[in-house]
Amino acid sequence: MSSREITYAEAIREALREEMARDERVFILGEDVGVFGGIFGVTKGLLAEFGEERVRDTPISELGIIGLSVGAAAVGMRPVPEIMFADLLPLCMEQIVNQAAKMHYMFGGKIKIPITIRVPQGAGRRTAAQHSQCLDAWFVHVPGLKVVAPSTPYDAKGLLKASIRDDNPVIFFEHKMLYRMRGPVPEGEYLIPLGRADVKREGSDATIVATSLMVHRALEAAAELAGEGISVEVIDPRTLSPLDRGAILGSVRKTGRLIIAEEACRTGGFGAEVAAIAAEEAIDALDAPIRRVAAFDVPIPFSPPLEDYVIPDKKRIIEAVRSVV
């Protein structure tokens, strides 16, 4: 496998293209995904390649987009709907939470709902309270759903392919600020199984469990702390549900310290779940209190200095690590 660098958006597009070529049941639907190529350009070119039947521009009907995906999946298709922003997931919560997530269980295992909902999330583009949220943790609370949040082009491609082949509903959270990030992606086919974390940096003094964009902030923090002689391990769960508890607990047992970095607001968040797992299963290994670095518990403000203040940055991660080592 030769190596080359492509962007996160290109990696996602490649995964879509490969899975559509491989399996004709796979199709895309969403707002502006066809002619326009997606609001962030992710699906550019796919309409020309696969035609209107399999790359469907839809009306502004999020509930309908997911409802139709659920129905099509129930009869054997493998839809990959795109919801334009994570902030629009509340409009289709009913179909995701009460229908997609529950049908397999509720019908005694008779029906499969293999849909992969691609959705960009995150702050940083000065688009205020209704276009900047990270809502991944909500879906972790729903049995029956899988939740994926890749932080690199490599992970994005392998995880999306695995998600599309998974027989369950998957919410695939892309981060808006990562679309242009470049990284190595091999030419050949590969899959990354759902439910497996990745060690993004090895270390021995503290563990940072970071998700999505915060993986990069954590890596920057780790690099800076290395200069002070603090060795930080950075773990990216990659799938928030099912969660690779073994990888997290193993790292915590090694370092004795746990910091969780997430972009969403703090209360009731994903970090709370990771902290609870560590407290339940590795309290004996912890040498210091667990720390969470998260957004403040407020809607995302518009004004640039306020937005930058609310969202966690490298500095806040460094301070959290220093406070426990």
Binding site: E31, D32, G34, V35, F36, G37, I39, D57, T58, P59, I60, S61, E62, L63, D87, L88, L91, R125, R126, T127, A128, A129, Q130, H131, F296, D297, V298, P299, P301, F302, S303, P304, P305, L306, Y309, V310
Partner: protein, 322 residues
Amino acid sequence: MELDREKLLEMYRKMVTIRRFEEKVAELNARGVFPGLAHLYIGEEAVAVGACSALRADDLITSTHRGHGHCIAKGCDLKPMMAELLGRYTGYCKGKGGSMHICDFDRGILGANGIVGSNIPIAAGAALGIKMMRQDRVVLCFFGDGASNGGSFHEGLNFASIWKLPVVFVCEHNMYAISMPTKKSTSVANIADRASAYGMPGEVVDGQDVLAVYEAARRAVARARRGDGPSLLECKTYRFRGHHEGDPGRGTTYRSREEMELWEARCPIRLFKAKLAQMGILDEELAKGIEEEVSRAIEEAVEFAMASPFPPLESALEDVYA
């Protein structure tokens, strides 16, 4: 409401203000001074001004992501508006809302909304509140063609109809929802056709003709105020810019230059200016005076905004709860 000379000139002034304001936003955006997304109203001025001119000062509007024109037409102040757009503490929402979330309760602007269609049931709800408080105010709800395909539209109109609420639904049919043409997204040729499903009058209006919009809105507002219930007005219009300022080629990935030119030839301001000239109300000199007055007001708003501080960081933590 009679349209006397003064009122007609006021309508013209407002249309020019919207146009120049938006051109200024485009310029600030190009210079990198404007944070976030700018969804401009250029080309659609007759809709906001025609509709809001049929309202009383104490009537209410709900607005959208493309809301600058609605707010100016309803009479908001340019200074706190521009300050809000630039994220300053002196802005309408203390810098927390930005372009998509202008709110001026005192002028009857119930708030602009970034979620397409969500303002429709909210408008019906405001009308319900007004009715329950035995007031005679009216709510006017702006939304796009794209919004009319979402559940909020259908639920909002049904509620407004069964409870005879004092609300006027104004659809700005600018032919596209981002790249999606109405003819591909919408089950009927005219969005006004949907009114019949909800037992209310629906009317197609030339959205480039401010007086036509005014007339239709005046009738619908009168009906709402009388207690006879809601109406749906569909104003056919066109956005002259892209969906937002980052839309490549002002939207040429999904629409033709010929189509754009056809619509640009029906510039609502130029049409109204010719009409006023014909009526002997506006001549070149007066028009020039209005232009100068408007540019001055916009320059002052920009100066005010640029001289205003960004919000203090702690303010990010305020206003979460009442």
